[in-house]
């Protein structure tokens, strides 16, 4: 048998082509948006995160002229670690999902991080707060994009202590997130010369906080620190207002408050709250333009920082895939750490060895009703915390990846 040079070349080229394609598993990149679609964190993440994910894919493919095929699937983890990890296993094993993004609720996030590591896939977390994701539970396959309990404690906690709030009482959501947030905030309070007079741990998704609030009131602490999130935070704030706690001279510190929470509380009750976020729609022209596009696709609701994080996380992920020409979880997470990040929402940044994404954080104060121009005009910027100060130093987190 005789091969012509042409045939030989054609075969080689085809083989090379196959080789290049084989790097992207099944010929497409499949992203799973896993979050709370219906419960107390649904407005923070929920269907809005899916909208953000779709925008990211569309924008990236348009701007980069990339030939990637990207598919997005989504599911509801109901804030339960067992349900979340079951979905993750099914996605990775049978549905060929390459990466899971979002995952609010720290207990679920820790489980998904574990599963992603086992399966050699990638998890980009934008929804959960626990700093353990890049601390003692860090994983080479997890990137913690948005914020964490250490950052919140050092943003809001420190600001409140410095404004005279020296004695604290905690209302803490009784699971991984609340406990981590309470621990990190307590450390900041003690370091800045304050003290903690008491704490009460309430079950997740509590309706009535009056009993806990009375205990906080009786403690005579200057600040009631809300180490909870979503519906739990809005209910606490609303009921604290009702029981005259703020009028009685105690201040509330919402340690994790999202724009959507302020929207559902109304400024009358939320005014004067300090809070720390890494994204707000009204930061600059780019964030404003993006947020208006987002709102148009999301029933007029403006983006939470989590939804912005989903967008930016996917942009960086797809960039890394094109640069590395693979969607293998282990390789791509390394690539994402090697490449600097740059997107319209968070600006320039980087991903650290322990999986921590670095970008500035912003300390805001909630506006008075008279200062607001309308719906979603809620925050006054008090201070910008530069990226290197906003997050826990690399060597302080007990992350095994850093030690080696």
């Amino acid at each position: 048998m005789k091969f012509s040079l042409k045939t030989l070349l054609a075969v080689m080229l085809t083989a090379a082509g196959l080789q290049a394609h084989a790097q992207i598993s099944n010929g497409n990149v499949k992203i799973g948006v896993l979050n709370d679609m219906s419960g107390l964190y649904a407005d923070i993440s929920g269907p809005g995160s899916v909208v953000a994910a779709k925008m990211a894919v569309e924008d990236y493919l348009k701007a980069s002229k990339s030939k990637l095929k990207v598919e997005i699937v989504s599911a509801d983890h109901q804030n339960k670690p067992d349900i979340g990890s079951n979905i993750a296993r099914q996605w990775y094993d049978t549905d060929k999902v390459d990466m899971i993004i979002d995952v609010p609720t720290s207990s679920v996030a820790l489980a998904i991080s574990q599963v992603s590591r086992e399966k050699g896939k990638l998890h980009i977390n934008t929804g959960a707060a626990t700093a353990d994701l890049t601390g003692k539970a860090c994983s080479p396959n997890t990137i913690h994009w948005l914020y964490d309990t250490w950052m919140l404690a050092n943003g809001t906690g420190k600001a409140v202590v410095q404004h005279g709030g020296a004695s604290w009482f905690f209302l803490t959501a009784d699971y991984a997130f609340g406990q981590a947030l309470e621990r990190d905030t307590e450390a900041v309070i003690l370091k800045n010369g304050g003290k903690v007079l008491g704490k009460v741990r309430h079950p997740l998704a509590t309706q009535d906080f009056s009993s806990f609030l009375l205990q906080a009131q009786a403690s005579k602490a200057k600040v009631i620190g809300l180490a909870n999130a979503g519906g739990d935070t809005t209910n606490s704030i609303k009921q604290a207002y009702e029981f005259g706690i703020v009028k009685g001279g105690q201040t509330l510190a919402g340690l994790l408050v999202f724009l959507t929470d302020i929207h559902s509380l109304g400024l009358e009750k939320a005014q004067g709250l300090y809070l720390t976020e890494t994204f707000y729609w009204d930061l600059n022209d780019q964030t404003r333009a993006w947020s208006k596009r987002f709102a148009a696709l999301n029933n007029g609701k403006y983006p939470s920082m989590d939804q912005a994080g989903v967008y930016a996380g996917i942009i960086h992920y797809l960039k890394a895939i094109d640069a590395a020409n693979t969607d293998d979880g282990n390789k791509i997470s390394q690539k994402m750490k090697d490449m600097p990040t740059d997107d319209v929402l968070f600006g320039k940044g980087s991903v650290r060895k322990d999986g921590r994404k670095l970008h500035p954080a912003y300390l805001f104060e909630v506006k008075k009703p008279s200062e607001s121009k309308g719906p979603y005009d809620y925050y006054k910027l008090l201070a910008t915390i530069p990226a290197e100060q906003a997050f826990r130093p690399l060597n302080a987190g007990d992350c095994p990846l850093v030690k080696n």
Binding site: A42, Q207, S211, A218, Q239, T260
Partner: protein
Amino acid sequence: MEIFGIPSQALFGQLLIGLINGSFYALLSLGLAVIFGLLNIINFSHGAQYMMGAFAAYLSLQWFGLNYWAALVLAPVVVGAIGALIERTMLVRLYKLDHLYGLLLTFGLALIIQGLFRNAYGASGMPYAVPEVFMGAVDLGFMFLPKYRAWVILASMLICFATWFVIERTKLGSYLRAATENPSLVQAFGINVPRMITLTYAFGVGLAAIAGVMAAPIYQVSPMMGADIIIVVFAVVVIGGMGSIMGAILSGFGLGLIEGLTKVVYPEASNTVIFVIMVMVLLIKPAGLFGTEK
């Protein structure tokens, strides 16, 4: 003075708060007990109907500018009418079947209703202001009692007592009870039994809607507010004895108190304590504290 290691002043405050939560448990379990006692339907959409009551208040304010008091009258009528429609078109087909069918149907309805509301209004909930008259609070010395919450306790006790009185002590109530015992005989006396049953269901649903309106200023008006509370309320009904009106009222208030105390003594257990009690009651007296074994 200290009781259980808690200053007695703080304890009184907590008991009062327990009573407020108990008011909602009592109102909701009362509706369930009326419906189960007289229709033999386990109304799992009760939580959704409670939520619809709260939304009726919110929407009538948004759309027509109607205040709290108007909503308190209007919401039970509107939601009750929707209930009547459900009874006429769907539940009526299930009376001859096992309880399970009614439970499944109403459970499915609850999921659909909650899903529709969540789709339209999101999960975080809407704010609803406390009515002008009840703004502010009274300082009781041992605690700061918001006036609105005092109103909730008072109103729900009144409604509960009135309902009990109508069913157990009036002629209308005796017709109702007779109609469940032996519908054909009562029909033979010239009473329109199907219509009476429809109205009873609408009344039970209306009670849920009233509870919803009363809850709106305290909690956020949110699509899932009913799903959160309904499981507890079912436990309350089981503890009180399925179908027992007085049992539902007393165990509603009583369990509110116990839950309130748990929040002080051991907060972590506050959302399970009612179920622990339910298990104990079922083991000792399976028909519930006030129920009669059939």
